[in-house]
Structures are given as structure tokens and as C-alpha cells.
């Protein structure tokens, strides 16, 4: 039962084969049994989850159905959820119980989804391995000695380990797609502005975007239908007619032009990843797609551009964590400045501090033009590259991450190596484009490989169609990580 996809579970609920409360108990039991092993969840509130499940069952009994009614899911710790500890993976918010729901949480609640818990993540979403979390690292279900990727590592591992059929994530530079790839699940980062950022604890406001993580493209569509939509509380939310993201799932792919950027297949790509991605491309060819070569000449600048802009915004976004109104405050201090200094020194971890320092530096008087302004100009060039590429193709494909899951601690001491883990995903955020990752095979160590599909603006439905057709033809997405022998 725990192996059901979100869609299959939804169908079972509709057919009254099981109740939401039964499904919820099932996953809560698995979480209680297996979370000590994976560390996916940071906060649980079983009574609250059960209450939501009972409500969903009552609603279904009263004739209010809907595909997500009664489906249990997990929320990334970055989302504020009323009554839930909303920690963002940080000691700074280790005591913060949100008094309100993020738009994403509210929408999923309204659709009847049951919250199983809040997942672990890199602190304030800053990391690519889930090792910067104050709550300790998450382990990859495919190899407990390997990282699950990050920053949505808890959500990814929870879905991969079948502790939840779906989870919310956020993606600032690859934080949905890279962990999805490293744990063998699917993850979608929508076009910037499609999902409201209200209630999502900000890392880099101009890049942050929430999206679904699940086991199939079909499941992503179901979740995105609920998550997307205009929200007047977010000024960057786009006012567009509501759409069904699964409307094109069954369309054939004949004649679809797939662009392969030469830059995605250059140095630094692990052979095991390259061969799995090549095989996936071959599969698409056999589905009738055309392959076109495209170039993204400025993509090589995306990592440095990102590591100017994202820290700049973060340094300002994280200024509110000052110990004055909520969250952690140092127990002892001499005066106001001392309170600020100790609170932030003790409340933030080293990666967060590093980025605050970088961001503060690049915004400083005398450096602003050389770093921030120049990075903004390059950001436009990077976006322009995609516009030109999309003149020649319908979707762009390539690897999601240059490697499969690396070992815990392997890159933790070398931030630059860690940052390069997002080399294929960051440009998509800088351009504001939608991108998704689906499993497309395994490397020599048996670790999952992710295929990245990048669409043009607002082409989520098309990208999901592209992913779904692949999943009809292959079964990579159905492979489950080895189950612990005793079920624990």
C-alpha cells in the first residue's frame, strides 16, 4: 500500500478501498519506524494529521471529492503552516510555531490534503546536500551513507523512502530538481510567479519558487493543480487563468523538438550520469522526438552570477532574524549590539553565515556596481540564451546534476565543489523558467540519475506531458530503494 503513487492512492480513496485516516496511519507508522534512519522529518503532530484525515473522510462522505482529498503529503520545513513548528532547518527558528498558513499550505489544505509533517532541509534552503540543517543530515534511501541532495532533501528522501506519496519543495537554484534526481523521484520547479511565495520563508526572493515532489509526472500535475494560482499577497504572483497541468499528459510526442545544449554535456559530467541521460534521449527519439543542438553560451556564468545575487537577497531577507520578536535569542547579552551578534552567531550555521557575509559584501558601497549590477546584467544574458534556444526547440533536456548522490561529508568542506552540484539547474532559476527532473536510470553504484526537462515560460503542462510519456515507456520511476530488512 505504501508503494502506491499519489494518483493510485487518490483512486483508492475515491473507490472507498481505504479511508484517509487509514492511509494517514499507514504513513505515520512508516515515518515512526523509518524516520530515525533517514531523518526526513523535523516535526510531526500525529493528532493534527489524524484530525485532518478525519475531516477529509467526512468531506468525501458528504460528497466533496477532489483528487487530493484525504491524500497525506509532507511539507518542506520552509513553509509556514499554522500551528506547526516551521523551522526552515535552522536553530534560529527551532521554537517558531507559525500563526499562519503559507499560500501553498492553505491551497493544499483546501484541496483536502493531509499534512504528515514538516521535512528536514538545508538551513534556510542554503545547501545542496541537506548537510547544513541544524537538525542533522538526511540520508539517501538508496544509500544511507550518501546525501539526498538539497535543499529539499527531507521531502525528496521522504517520497523516495515511501514515507509520503508526495511532498512540497522549493527551488532557488535547483533545490527541488537536484534532490529529486539524487533520490530517484520527480520534482518540478514551475515558472517564477506561478506559485505564490507567501508564507514560504524567503531565501532569494527573485529566484525562490515552490513546486511539487512525487513519484510520477502525473502526481506532480495533481499537486501543481492545487499549488498554483494567483495570490494577491505576493506581488510577484502572476495573474493568469487557472489551468489543468495534467491536461496534455496523454498527448503523443511525435515531432517534439528536444534541444540539447552542448554546455550540458561537457567536462565534469560523471560517465554514469552521461550514459543514463544518453539512453533517455534515445528513448525520446524512439517516441518520435527530434533532437536539435542548442547552445547556452552564458550558462557557464550562472554559478558565479547566482552566488552574487542569491546571497545579496538572502543577506537582507535574513536580517529579520534578530532575536527581537520571535525565534531564537541568545540567553545572555550585554546590550543591543551584543544581543544581535550573539543571537545571530549562535542561531545561524556556517553556510548561512557565509552567504550573509558574501551578500553583505556584494551590496556594500563601492562594490555594488562591480558585483550586484554586473550580475544582474549577466542574468539577462543568461535568460536571453534560453529565449534564443527556444526558438529552435520545444523543450531542453540534459542531466539534472553532474553526479549521482555523493557521500555524506564528501563535499561539506569544499563549498565551491558543493556549489557546482547545481551547475545545470541554476540557470533555469536565473531565467525564471520551469524545470523538472525525472528518474532516468542508475549509475554503476546503483544510484539514481535524473533527467532534467526545461520548458519555455508557462509550459508546465507540456513538460509534464513529456515526462509522462517517458514514464509510460519506462519504469525507472517505479523502482524503489532497498527496503530495510526488518522494515526499520
Amino acid at each position: 500500500m505504501h508503494d502506491l503513487t499519489l494518483k493510485a492512492l487518490s483512486d483508492a480513496l475515491s473507490a472507498r478501498k481505504l479511508s484517509s485516516l487509514e492511509a494517514t496511519e499507514l504513513f505515520l507508522n512508516r515515518i515512526n519506524a523509518l524516520n530515525p534512519r533517514y531523518n526526513c522529518f523535523v516535526s510531526l503532530d500525529e493528532e493534527r494529521s489524524r484530525a485532518q484525515a478525519r475531516e477529509a473522510d467526512a468531506a468525501r462522505a458528504a460528497g466533496r471529492a477532489g483528487p487530493l482529498r484525504g491524500v497525506p503529503i509532507a511539507h518542506k520545513g520552509i513553509f509556514c503552516a499554522k500551528g506547526w513548528l516551521s523551522t526552515c532547518g535552522s536553530k534560529m527558528l527551532s521554537n517558531f510555531v507559525s500563526p499562519y498558513d503559507a499560500h501553498v499550505v492553505q491551497r493544499l489544505n483546501e484541496a483536502g490534503a493531509v499534512t504528515l509533517g514538516k521535512t528536514n532541509m538545508d538551513e534556510f534552503a542554503m545547501g545542496s546536500s541537506n548537510e547544513t540543517s541544524w537538525y542533522g543530515p538526511v540520508r539517501n534511501p538508496w544509500d544511507p551513507e550518501a546525501v539526498p541532495g538539497g535543499s529539499s532533501g527531507g521531502s525528496a528522501a521522504a517520497v523516495a523512502a515511501r514515507l509520503a506519496p508526495g511532498a512540497t519543495g522549493t527551488d532557488t537554484g535547483g533545490s527541488i530538481r537536484q534532490p529529486a534526481a539524487l533520490t530517484g523521484i520527480c520534482g518540478l520547479k514551475p515558472t517564477y510567479g506561478v506559485v505564490s511565495r507567501y508564507g514560504m520563508i524567503a531565501f532569494a526572493s527573485s529566484l525562490d519558487q515552490a513546486g511539487p515532489m512525487a513519484r510520477t509526472a502525473e502526481d506532480l500535475a495533481l499537486m501543481l493543480d492545487a499549488m498554483a494560482g494567483f495570490d494577491e499577497r505576493d506581488s510577484t504572483s502572476l495573474e493568469r487563468a487557472p489551468e489543468s497541468y495534467g491536461r496534455d499528459l496523454t498527448k503523443g510526442l511525435k515531432g517534439l523538438r528536444i534541444g540539447l545544449p552542448t554546455e550540458f554535456f561537457a567536462d565534469g559530467l560523471a560517465p554514469g550520469v552521461a550514459s543514463a541521460v544518453d539512453a533517455a534521449i534515445a528513448q525520446y527519439k524512439s517516441l518520435g522526438c527530434e533532437i536539435v543542438e542548442v547552445t547556452l553560451p552564458n550558462m557557464r556564468l550562472s554559478v558565479p552570477v547566482y552566488y552574487v545575487l542569491a546571497p545579496a537577497e538572502a543577506s537582507s531577507n535574513l536580517a529579520r532574524f534578530d532575536g527581537v520578536r520571535y525565534g531564537y535569542r541568545a540567553p545572555e547579552y550585554r546590550d543591543l549590539d551584543d544581543m544581535y551578534e550573539k543571537t545571530r552567531a549562535q542561531g545561524f550555521g556556517p553556510e548561512v553565515k557565509r552567504r550573509i557575509l558574501i551578500g553583505t559584501y556584494v551590496l556594500s558601497h563601492g562594490y555594488y556596481d562591480a558585483y550586484y549590477i554586473r550580475a544582474q546584467k549577466l542574468r539577462r544574458l543568461i535568460a536571453q540564451d534560453f529565449t534564443e534556444a527556444f526558438a529552435k526547440c520545444d523543450v531542453i533536456m540534459g542531466p539534472t546534476s553532474p553526479t549521482t548522490a555523493f557521500k555524506l561529508g564528501e563535499k561539506a568542506a569544499d563549498p565551491l565543489q558543493m556549489y557546482l552540484s547545481d551547475i545545470y539547474t541554476i540557470a533555469v532559476n536565473l531565467a525564471g523558467l520551469p524545470g523538472l527532473s525525472i528518474p532516468c536510470g542508475f549509475d554503476g553504484q546503483g544510484l539514481p540519475v535524473g533527467l532534467q526537462v526545461i520548458g519555455n515560460y508557462f509550459r508546465e503542462a507540456q513538460m509534464l506531458n513529456v515526462a509522462h510519456q517517458y514514464q509510460l515507456a519506462t519504469d525507472w520511476h517505479l523502482r524503489a530503494p532497498p527496503q530495510p530488512e526488518d522494515g526499520r
Binding site: 526552515c88 507559525s98 520563508i201 524567503a202 537582507s316 551590496l363
Partner: protein
Amino acid sequence: MKWETVIGLETHAQLNTRSKIFSGASTAFGASPNTQASAVDIALPGVLPVLNRAAVEKAIRFGLSVGATVNHRSIFARKNYFYPDLPKGYQISQFEVPVVAGGTVTIVVDGTEKTVRLTRAHLEEDAGKSLHEEFPDATGIDLNRAGTPLLEIVSEPDLRSSAEAVAYAKALHGLVRWIDICDGNMQEGSFRCDANVSVRPVGTDTLGTRCEIKNLNSFRFLERAIDYEVRRQIELIEDGGRVVQETRLYDPGRDETRSMRSKEDAHDYRYFPDPDLLPLEITPQWLESVRAVLPELPEAMRERFVAQHGVTAYDAAVLTGSRELADYFEAAARDARGPVGKLCANWIAGALSARLNEAGIDVGESRVTAAQLRRLVERIADSTVSGKIAKDVFEAMWNGEATGDDAADTIIAARGLVQISDSGALEKVADEVIAANAQQVADYRGGKEKAFNSLVGQVMKATRGKANPQQVTEILKRKLTG
């Protein structure tokens, strides 16, 4: 050496919108601490700002009123610094591209008109308040004010004395109230000024080093702070010292300014465009819709009063001191032709204003209504009462002796104050006065003009002031010279 003072003002006008600039919380003053602070105002994790269009419209009104450019596109920026009453750790303001650029304000000092250039006006949010006195060993934070919309109006360094600075601040204060964008309440901090002050030898073009005096919330403090600061800077330089660029605070108790922080300690605010807010776009349609409902501005109204009613320039300036006073005048003068409009102006600028000042009330609370005043003025114009008697009638109206639009008529009738213009009756009284005052008559005929006034006074006294003074003069002149 002769010194010239150079002053530029930065004025914060709190915009009188119902809700805050980036949240739906109320802006009402005086509520219990933190009861008007929403999730956005206290900067909970994950909250986002949404711009209040009403605040933008008020900024547009201002821009149009001072002949400025209202930028089609302006940018909100974050001004980053840590302070407990600044919940986000940054203030949302406008930096490189403000909503309003340029414009002018006209001031009059000692009868001379001067045009003060504005640099810009930009929208921003106010911070909360730190309460240091209420708690022993702790500071309280009240975030009710956090997020209140402000328009920061920056002048060029065109002001040359504290008197000019005060005249400018008053003109601005009058204007923001006139166009209904700010209540102008200085005690509550709705209108406050920072003064940038420097001195330089007369005849030089380069600016001296300036000091900024923060948070001056009365015209008197503005004047005294500048006067002190100018003296301080001149003495410092003349004693061989150098002015250090710094921020200073004015202490009204000791009437001096004190250093708050020097340039070296100045914050690097790390301004950058706020990624949570889109650029502010003001379409020509929006601009025109605001222009269409903009009230007639004081300057235009002054000119109209002079042309339409023959009001003196001085009275016109007094009448346009506030929207309410101008409205009162318009209600009283209405469709008046001939001298009535001008008389209304005289009475409002004179007796009424004096009475209002004395009572410390606004014209809106005047005990004599515009309609009542109009009736009284008509009775002067049609010679029912003299100007002098009218003063008594006005006082009686002020004291509530009669009600209704015809209160003046009621009082004139009840007190029997109708002017005596019957020449037969007046001739008789004049004859009696001449007969009874032989000495004065002789004096007048002997060339003492003063004696004539005494005789007029006698006639007025005999008629208890009701005689038409002009007629009395004519009759007496005729009888004494004839």
C-alpha cells in the same frame, strides 16, 4: 567675515491612508501597542509586502501640486540596517528612481517671493517606536507605526535662513493638508523635518560641510535648531576649527544640537531593488484620473479671489491659509457681486480669524456660520448697520444670541440697531449738538479739524451709534460751513 547660511530640508509627511503602505493594518494613531501590527508589519517569516495604491495616489497628488515629474516607472529599494523597531532589518523606500522628481514650492519672506526647488519626493514606510521609559532595564517595541506610509520630500539647498526654512516648511505643511495627503499633525509626528545646514563665506559658490539635524517636529524647533547650528558652525570655523559631517539631534530643553553619529559611523545601507515588489508603474491614465480630482491649488485660488471679488492680495493669502478657511470664504461670498465679496474677505481675515485664534479652534468649528456672516455683510452693504455696529452684531452672533442664517437680522431688530439714515431726524440731532457745543463749533470754525470729529462723536452718541456716519459728516459740514 560675512557668512551665508545654506539649508536644505528633508520632510517626512505621513500619508493619511486608512491602511499601511504594504499591509492591510490600520494606520490610526494612539491604539494600544502592537494592536495594529499585522503579520507583515511584525515581519513574520515568509510574509510579503503588497503596495497600497492609495499611498501612490497621494504621492501623485503631491507631484502634480508642485509641478513635478511623476515618474512613469519608479523602484522600491531596501535600505538595510538593524534596529529593534525596524522589524524586517530593512526599510522599504525608494532610492535611485523616486516616484516624484523635481517641482517647486513658492514662499514669501518679508514680502519677497522666492521659489524653492524640490529634488524629489519618494514613498517609504515608517518604522515602529522604541519605548525606553516605560520599562526598567528593558526597551519596549511598539510596531503600530511600522509600515505607515511616508512621503519624504527633499528640497534643494535653496534656503538661506531659518526664516526661509520655516516659511518653506509652513508652505509645504499647508499644501499637504490642502491636497489632503497628510493630516499635518506635528505633535503626533505626522509631519517632521530633517534640516541639512551648512555655512559658507558670502560670495562663494562651493557648499560648506553640512550637518543634518534630525526629527524637528515643530516650526519653532526648526527655527531654533537652525539658528543654533548656524552659530555653532560659524564659531567653530572662526575659532580655526572644521565642521565635521554628522547627524545631530536638537534638544529643545537646552536649545542646542548635539552630535548623534559622525560620518565614519554612518551606516552603509546597502540599498538594492526590493525583489518582493515590482517596479511601480504609473500609467498616463492613472495620472490623469488623479489630476481630474485634484482640488484647485492655493495659488490659483488666490488669483481667482483677487480677480473675482476684488480681495486684496494679503486677504487672499490669509483666506487660502487652509482649505477650510477658503471653503468658508467661498460659502460666504458665494455669488456675491459688488463689495460684498470683498467685505466677506475683510471680515474673515479680520474679526473672524481673530476670534478663532483666541478660542483656539478651527474655522470648521466657528460659532458664526458662513451664511450668518454673509447676512451681516449684506446689512453693512445695504447700510442697515454701520461697520462699527456690525462688530457688535458679530460679537452677539459669536455669543449665540440668535440662531439661523438670519441671526444678524434678528439681533439688529431685537437690539434696535438699524442705522438712522432719515435725514430729517439726523438734521434735528445735528442742530441740537451744534447748539449744545458752542465751544467745539467755534474751535472748528477757527481751524481745529479735531473739533469736528468730536461733534460727529456727539451725534453718534446721541443716536446710540445708529446714525449713518457718512451722512452725519455731510450734514454737519453743510451746517457749520454754510
